[in-house]
Amino acid sequence: MSSSIQRVIRLPGDQIIVDKNVSIEGSNINISLYKLSENTYVITTVSLQDIGEDDKKIRIIPLKGRYIPKEGDIVIGIVTDVTLSSWLVDIKSPYLAILNASDYIGKSFNPSSENIRKYLDVGDVVIAKIAQFDRTRLPILTVQDKGLGKVVSGSLIEIEPIKVGRVIGKKRSMITMLSEQTKCEFVVGVNGRILLRCPDPELEYVAILAIKKIEAEAHTTGLTERIKEFILNEKVKRGLIKFEG
């Protein structure tokens, strides 16, 4: 990130005036900004604003917020309830999600001849995609895609959903670095759950520490480099690699 960009913390109630030819960027801006009049917006959540030399765009990065489902998102859910022909899945959002048995099995499901709990029970973890959501009804999940379905191994950690973007990084830079350094396989759910599959419990512990550090420092610049250094230090401390230089 170039040094000409300055970051300031914005709080609810701060007003920003935006000219017509200036574009606003950032995730979730429809939630973190409230339009007051033609060119005045109010910040609604604790956010960061990038002030650069370029006057043509404003970037707002919210620092707080819950996960709101969006169609096409890959999420990691935990089954919380079982009905006759579907599961209710907690996806760390205000709304529970529905996963239909027929979707999970891939053919029509007859509850009178089969027990749904044979496939998934309360407490099971699934990787799924949001198939439908419009806020008037509960989101519908699907597992009919590559890499989706029940999770049988690995460990699950939770972070704030708003900080998932930082764990992935620009062009996946952070996540690539993490898996190179820790040899772990990461599945990142947009809802703030991350699944780790690691060859070595020590490395897994380092990876968890690194993710927690990313979460705590998500709003700072030059994070990827710092995390890389942090992982190397932790690995040296644990005797996983020898100190170099």
Partner: protein, 241 residues
Amino acid sequence: MKGSKPQLIAEGKRIDGRGPADLRQIRMEVGVLKNADGSAIVEIGNTKVLAAVYGPREVVPRHEEQVDRAIIRCRYRMLSFSTMGERKSPAPSRREIELSKVIREALEPAIISSQFPRTAIDIFVEVLNADGGTRTAGITAASLALADAGIPMIDLVAAVAVGKVDGVIVLDLNEIEDMYGEADMPVAAMPSMGKITMIQLNGVLTPEEFRYALRLALDGINKIYSLQKETLKKKFVEVEE
């Protein structure tokens, strides 16, 4: 409980040594509870209030949900050990039920509840130590907790009480001034929006006194508001270093 009335103003100073337009010492902190989505503690003089916010989350019972917006539920409570003298009964009193509603209605204009239809936002305000101005401290703490929880708000809400004691309009009343004073007026406002979200008046003020009192209250609110913003900012600046 009412004894003989003490002298509240002597030589221009109030019973605790403040001037008429002075606030008490204020301390604020956000993110004090781990389980809550957002939390804050506010101390104004001896008054100490803890606020916690949960949500937006599923509405239980279901029939209370609104299809176009989040419902906001608020519970104000004074803990058994919060008052002086006799232990306060832990059962919600009429006063607590009323204040829960008052605090909710003071915060509702700030919260953009249409962002989360069919959900509930729960606000818990617990008074740990009461020494006057618990409702205003509660509103201040709850709005910090809401911001900490990441619930979209058009502005923070800050609140303070003004009143008349011994014929003088004073800011930020404490327990004794509230008990023996002639009038008490809590005010809550969204300073950046320039809007008042709550105003109550208990007692009698002349129109001139009222205007002056309101001006005094809004000045106090602005001071509390800037403290609120500082507190929220501090949480993130600390990590950066």
